[in-house]
Subunit: 463 residues, 2 copies
């Protein structure tokens, strides 16, 4: 049986057993145990030092998983590396469907650790048991409240439920990324730290998430792909947007990656070619990974290359124009008809060329007319709206409602819209509000244009 | 007399008169009047509709500036464009030292507006009166509490006092930038929105700030330089670090700039050459402008090109290595002696190559030893410390104290140190804390490496 059939139990088990559970503060087994207390399904704690049936943190505890009186879908293993093979064997005998091996001390530490992995692989071979890890943080699934991330809750915030799945070869980076998502109010379908990828690898995860009804966009931090051909086969069948942050693209980075995850990280050009071939959105920064994913979850692909900019600040319009061109798009040439209509409704000092400058004193109505006209223009493929919110003229709540309405109009015509709200406290608040309403919004013009580029790459897909 | 001698009165006047002061809510003249109520020097309000000596917002109000019974250093003008020339004439007759013309409706609106500017220039010619604007927001000087920025305080936050001066050709962008500085807790010496640069231009301002004892770093947003030779002359004499965000570098951007500020924005290659020649730090993003300025204010220049990275997360180390190389620096080859000492003090699983991976469970002591060794290594020119703060091992307060100590040690050896703290809520809090303590800290690895690049450009100066 194919282990991939059982991957669902990594995220939606009916019952979970934590092997290595403990009540000793500061231990990984304690932190995960506390997380599992929030899991609404059945939870069993396992520790070789327990008396069967003894209580641990209010749950029944057993000596081994085989002592658990009921079926267990998912086993989470947090015991020293050298005993992991025997524990896995017991899991298989118990009939678990999936295993997450949190424990470190495997391939990443040298040949002896690699041998342990081989041993485990032999034990699960042909059984259909799906194994994530070892040397990983495991999973966080907001929807099912399944959480094996052992970082302390006072220093690790976790995102709410949403449409972005995030897989990370690096656990620590993945945790930091989730922390940032939470801070920015961006939702997550599943976080998966896959560590050494002994069995389940990035290709398996992408393939799985492509079929996952909760996931709209797949974001990935990858140092090295385990099996290039398998990866290409998965990309070929991929329907959902995939954003990849591939690190280790320089010689120095590749060297660092090789001592981190043992990945063959090099061959940057090959990766680039593959990403381009399959319309994978390749990014090269933590923030861009998030920004692109936010746009892809919320807006339709950009079909074409012509961008219209509507702004109440000239300077932001200038830099955004630069960015548009430098990211492979063009400033739309507005039609004479559009310009004529804009002239009718905007004050004489406004610019009716693209970028359309509605001026610093623009009220909501003026913005609305300008946005309306550029949406209508057939040569416009995407709209960027810039609002400098420091100036006195704009009624924020009415601006918000108008943008939500106009974004829908644009989307109905197959045109994406993104927002730029430069500044501090107030813009940050509205960035969150717009993102929640399905309109990608960003603090800096560069962030927004990079995110729009992701929509353009997505739009280049023939399918 | 040279108007530049009087520029000091734009920032440190003993007395200010606001011409166009009003108590009508929502008016620019009201907003500036309210700001000036916080100015500790003498403040006079002027409005042609006032009876001399009448009170306006608790201050004496006069019909014209000539009716003010005492000397006035600075006149702030916020009256319709067409009456500005006559008001300026009265200011000159009154003997004011400097004028800020907030009013719009000049060159930026066409030939008639340009004629008004010529008229004003004739009036002030030879008088030595310094004129900022027109069509600008004016100045914000935290130290003297002089503030002509008329944006409402509930939507425009302003930074505290600090060593970064910021000049902006675009008022709206400048305001947004200040709002961001305030949100991130970064201090400002002077903000200057210089608008149409009728008389005082970017070169005058940079020259002035070079001598300003409160300014350590000059940051500038520029669309087009008014007088290229003058600019080059100023750069040649510049002693302080200058960071320039020059927008309008593409054809589309230049076109937008020309309709925004009438700047000849093109000739990107010429600018690039000049910036390179004079070690100006050229950036191309709002965030980078801020990040580079923060680093330049707080750390010594980087002499050399070799960076050492100390991290508790492998992934962040990999991407940072990539960035270092891609931004014209190198990963330092640690000496055998350094590696030997690192091996002695780090656990076997740690990497003693560069990036030095102190592992996810690193306590403060382990970090400290690693940082100590790389500072000592003679081939290391700069140190990047990465801390994934989500993991349980690190005591934040002791980490903070240790880094402050070690940064001083590094700086004493002429080596800059920057910090990367990826994530959300908690890292953001510590980014602020470290920045306050003089250690540039950033959320993303890319931000930090771009900021380090600024220190390297600075270090390339022969002087």
């Amino acid at each position: 049986m194919d282990y991939r059939k059982n991957m669902i139990y990594l995220f939606e088990p009916k019952s979970v057993a934590l092997i290595g559970a403990t009540d000793k503060p500061g231990k990984v087994g304690r932190a995960i145990a506390e997380n599992l207390l929030k899991f609404p399904g059945k939870v069993y704690f396992v520790n070789i030092k327990c008396q069967n049936g003894q209580e641990l943190l209010g749950k029944p505890c057993y000596k081994t998983i085989k002592d658990v009186p009921e079926d267990v879908d998912l086993a989470v293993i947090a015991v020293p590396a050298k005993v992991v093979p025997s524990v896995v064997k017991e899991c298989v005998e118990k009939g678990v469907k999936a295993i997450i091996i949190i424990s470190a001390g495997f391939k990443e530490t040298g040949p002896e650790g690699a041998k342990l992995e081989e041993e485990i692989l032999k034990i699960v071979e042909g059984t259909g048991v799906a194994v994530l890890g070892p040397n990983c943080l495991g999973v966080y699934v907001p929807k099912t409240s399944l959480d094996t991330i052992f970082n302390p809750p006072d220093r690790q915030d976790k995102p709410k439920h949403g449409g972005i799945a995030f897989i990370s070869q690096s656990g620590a980076f993945g945790a930091a990324f989730m922390d940032r998502m939470a801070d920015l109010g961006i939702g997550l379908s599943k976080f998966i730290s896959y560590g050494n990828a002994m069995q389940i690898d990035e290709s398996d995860l992408i393939e799985f998430l492509n079929e996952d009804p909760d996931t709209k966009v797949i974001a990935a931090y990858i140092e090295g792909v385990k099996d290039g051909r398998k990866f290409a086969r998965v990309l070929e069948k991929l329907r959902k947007p995939l954003v990849v942050f591939k690190a280790g693209i320089t010689q120095a980075g590749a060297k660092a990656a090789s001592s981190h995850t043992g990945s063959l990280a090099g061959a940057a050009e090959i990766y680039k070619g593959v990403f381009h071939q399959y319309n994978v959105v390749d990014v090269f920064d933590m923030q861009e990974l998030l920004d692109a994913s936010v746009a892809l979850e919320r807006q339709p692909p950009m079909r074409g290359e012509n961008v219209a900019i509507v702004t109440n600040g000239g300077g932001a319009g200038v830099m955004t124009s630069d960015y548009v061109v430098l990211h492979g798009m063009k400033l739309a040439e507005l039609s004479e008809e559009t310009k004529r209509r804009l002239k009718e409704s905007l004050p004489p000092a406004a610019s009716v060329n693209n970028p359309v400058d509605v001026l610093g004193d623009a009220p909501v109505e003026r913005y609305e007319k300008a946005i309306e006209e550029v949406i209508k223009d057939e040569d416009v493929d995407a709209i960027i709206v810039i609002a400098l919110m420091q100036s006195p003229a704009l009624d924020f709540e009415r601006f918000y409602e108008m943008i939500v309405r106009k974004a829908k109009e644009a989307n109905d015509k197959g045109k994406p819209m993104v927002l730029i709200l430069p500044g501090g406290r107030v813009p940050k608040e509205y960035v969150k509000k717009f993102v929640d309403a399905g309109i990608p919004a960003y603090i800096t013009p560069l962030q927004a244009v990079k995110a729009l580029r992701a929509l353009k790459i997505r739009g280049e897909r023939s399918s």
